[in-house]
Amino acid sequence: MSALSYQPILPRPAPRHASGALAWLRSNLFSDVKTGLSTIILGGLLLWFIPPFLNWSLFNAVWTPDVQACRAVQESAACWGVIAEKYRLIIFGRYPFDQQWRPLIATVLMMLMLVASCIRVFWKPWLAGSWIAVLTVFFILMYGNSLGLAKVPTDSWGGLPLTILLATLSIVMAFPIALLVALGRRADLPAIRVFCSLYVELIRGVPLISVLFMASFMFPLFMPPGLTIDVLIRVLVGITLFNAAYLAEVVRGGLQAVPKGQIEAAATLGLSYWQIQRKIVLPQALAMVVPSIVNSIIATFKDTSLVSIVSLYELTGALDMAINADANWKPFKLQGYMFIAIIYFIFCFSMSRYSQWVERQVNKSKLR
């Protein structure tokens, strides 16, 4: 009997109020027993670790360049005095002390240029022109020997300016090579295709350090007798050729993503091979791979630290030089490493955030 009688299902309770800090906490940290337990355990661990770390790194730390004070707290606190004492050596390397305004201006100029290149409004042909101008100014400032500036040979260059110079210049020079190699790998001409593939696969198969060894030990043998080339230029050539292979693969990925119909349509319109590539294919392909290109730039920026192994004193090498030479400060090398780690982090992190932003922009244009 009762099976036939009408029994309304009780209305479900309204969903819990789902906004505000408390609701966020509940849904994100204590949504069920397992989540709650892991929150408590992890939170406990963090509470256990973070205060001692903050004490070590901030509250008890020594901030003045005072060796005695640093020694006194060595066991229990960080000594940032080492940075206060050595920061000019770390950032500018062996560049003559009274001339260090030159790398400072040059670096700031270069960084402004980098930032400008990230802004879409400036993606115009004159950007290339201003890059050449800025690089020229950079070299005149750094090298001197003209305009009343004293000459500073390249082996005195070091620190952050050298890092930025190596990263920027090798990417700027690698880019045209990468474009040609990427096009060559997709060309109809077998000899050129084979050569380009060989180049890319060979370079990508070996570590950068072996390329750098080659640049610093073998390169002098390659040159005609009597011709010596500055070690900075040799290393720059090595990094450029290395980056070009990686960038070429990135660009090739973009080229492959351009639909074949685009090329056929352009050919039907009577455009020549180079016209097709320049006006139809590359603009589409490059727009697609901007995030990957930025990632390559990040990788290059980090890779510049390797040149310290072939005795160029960029940021990592300059730190070693600055601290190893001074027995007083040597026990505090870890703080030095942390300092340059933070510099690297700031650069790489902002670039990766930029690449994520570009990726979102590119995806936005695809949504219609």
């Binding site: 198969g205 390797l306 490493y337 780690a341």
Partner: protein, 391 residues
């Protein structure tokens, strides 16, 4: 209106694309050959002028330097040839262990970024951002500094049971080889064979009846049980070669040097941050509808991951994962900066001693190329297995 007849096709004309292509290629080959000839002739002249000897005959000469750690015994009277082998073995050792650990850590962190717990999510993404954005060389140097400066001296080594940790590295007990271990090994092999047979049977059962047998715990149990049984049959040898704290060093047992530990820690932690991104993007590439459909079919979360998410995510994951493995192997060349005797360090020493830069760099490049190509081949064949089987 007169119809113009189509111009006769001339083969050897500048207007023919094929002809132009041929010319371009000949020019390109010519330029490359000329370039290589130019470099080679310069090199030969320079070597003659500077009196540098060339050739690979130095490989048979005694190396004259000792190597801090090696998988097989090496002393300075042995040849360069063998020194290079020691270096290669050291490279592979740190690369293989690093790859395994980085895969595990990277997978855990990659999955952690999908956690329902905001704390876990936050920690995982902090980890990725921190370690991905600092050069691996710097990280290696930092780990090495930490391991050699901040740890207690050997006299005051930290001890946990038979394990020691100090500036001298990490010491652990190893079992002393006895006949019983051969039994255990044989048992292990038999166990694996049995598990393989079971796997085939369970698969046929599944195809015939649709009933899923345990594919993980039962085979694992079979392998372990048979190894344990054989070990017991072999007399259950349990003698351990435990490290003992001596006057100046921790003696006996197995040891990991601080150089190896620094390499392993640095490479694992750095690469894991990239692998976790690979894993994350792989999982994110499986659309939500797939998991919802699986849940609607009544699969429990474990099966859902194993049968639905993983096979689809792996397709996206494998190619970039291969790249990360290759990167780790190539980054192991940074060992030269902290003195771990890998291939590059050995080549560097050999180069300084013999002056044969060209040969040493050629050996290094050839070895890394071979490793890269082999890894790519291996991973490509695995990739083919997980790729979509299209008709």
């Amino acid at each position: 209106m007169s119809l113009k007849s189509a111009p006769k096709k001339k083969r050897w004309s500048w207007r023919s694309q094929a002809f132009r292509g041929l010319i371009y290629q000949i020019v390109a080959i010519g330029v490359i050959v000329l370039g290589v000839w130019f470099l080679a002739s310069n090199t030969l002249t320079n070597m003659r002028v500077r009196g540098i000897q060339s050739g690979f005959d130095f490989l048979n000469q005694p190396a004259g330097f000792s190597i801090g750690e090696s998988l097989f015994p090496f002393d300075s009277a042995e040849s360069y040839w063998r020194a290079f082998w020691v270096g290669l073995a050291n490279t592979l050792r740190v690369a293989v262990v690093g790859i395994i650990l980085a895969t595990l850590l990277g997978t855990v962190i990659g999955i952690g970024r999908f956690s329902r717990n905001a704390l876990v999510r936050g920690l995982c993404s902090t980890y990725v951002e921190c370690f991905r954005n600092i050069p691996v060389l710097l990280q290696l140097l930092m780990w090495y500094l930490l391991l050699t400066e901040m740890l207690p001296s050997i006299q005051n080594a930290w001890q946990a049971g038979p394990f020691f940790l100090s500036k001298g590295g990490f010491n652990y007990p190893i079992p002393i080889w006895q006949a019983g271990h051969a039994w255990a090994l044989a048992g292990l092999v038999i166990g694996i064979a049995l598990a393989w047979l079971y796997h085939g049977w369970a698969r046929r059962q599944f195809e015939a009846t649709g009933i899923i047998k345990s594919m993980f715990w039962v085979p694992l149990g079979v392998v372990l049980a048979s190894a344990l049984l054989a070990w017991l049959l072999g007399g259950a040898p349990s003698a351990l070669d435990s490290p003992v704290k001596g006057e100046f060093s921790v003696e006996n047992g197995g040891a990991l040097t601080p150089e190896f530990l620094a390499m392993l820690l640095g490479l694992t932690i750095y690469t894991a941050s990239f692998i976790s991104e690979v894993v994350r993007s792989g999982i994110a590439s499986v659309s939500r509808g797939q998991t919802e459909a699986a849940a609607a079919l009544g699969l429990d979360p474990g099966l859902e991951i194993r049968l639905i998410v993983l096979p689809q995510a792996l397709r996206v994951i494998i190619p970039p994962l291969t790249n990360q493995y290759l990167n780790l192997t190539k980054n192991s060349s940074l060992a030269v900066a902290i003195g771990y005797p890998d291939l590059i360090s050995i080549a560097n020493t050999a180069m300084n001693q013999t002056g044969r830069a060209v040969e040493c760099i050629a050996i290094v490049m050839a070895v890394y190329l071979t490793i890269s190509l082999l890894t790519s081949l291996l991973m490509n064949s695995y990739n083919k297995r997980v790729a979509i089987q299209e008709r």
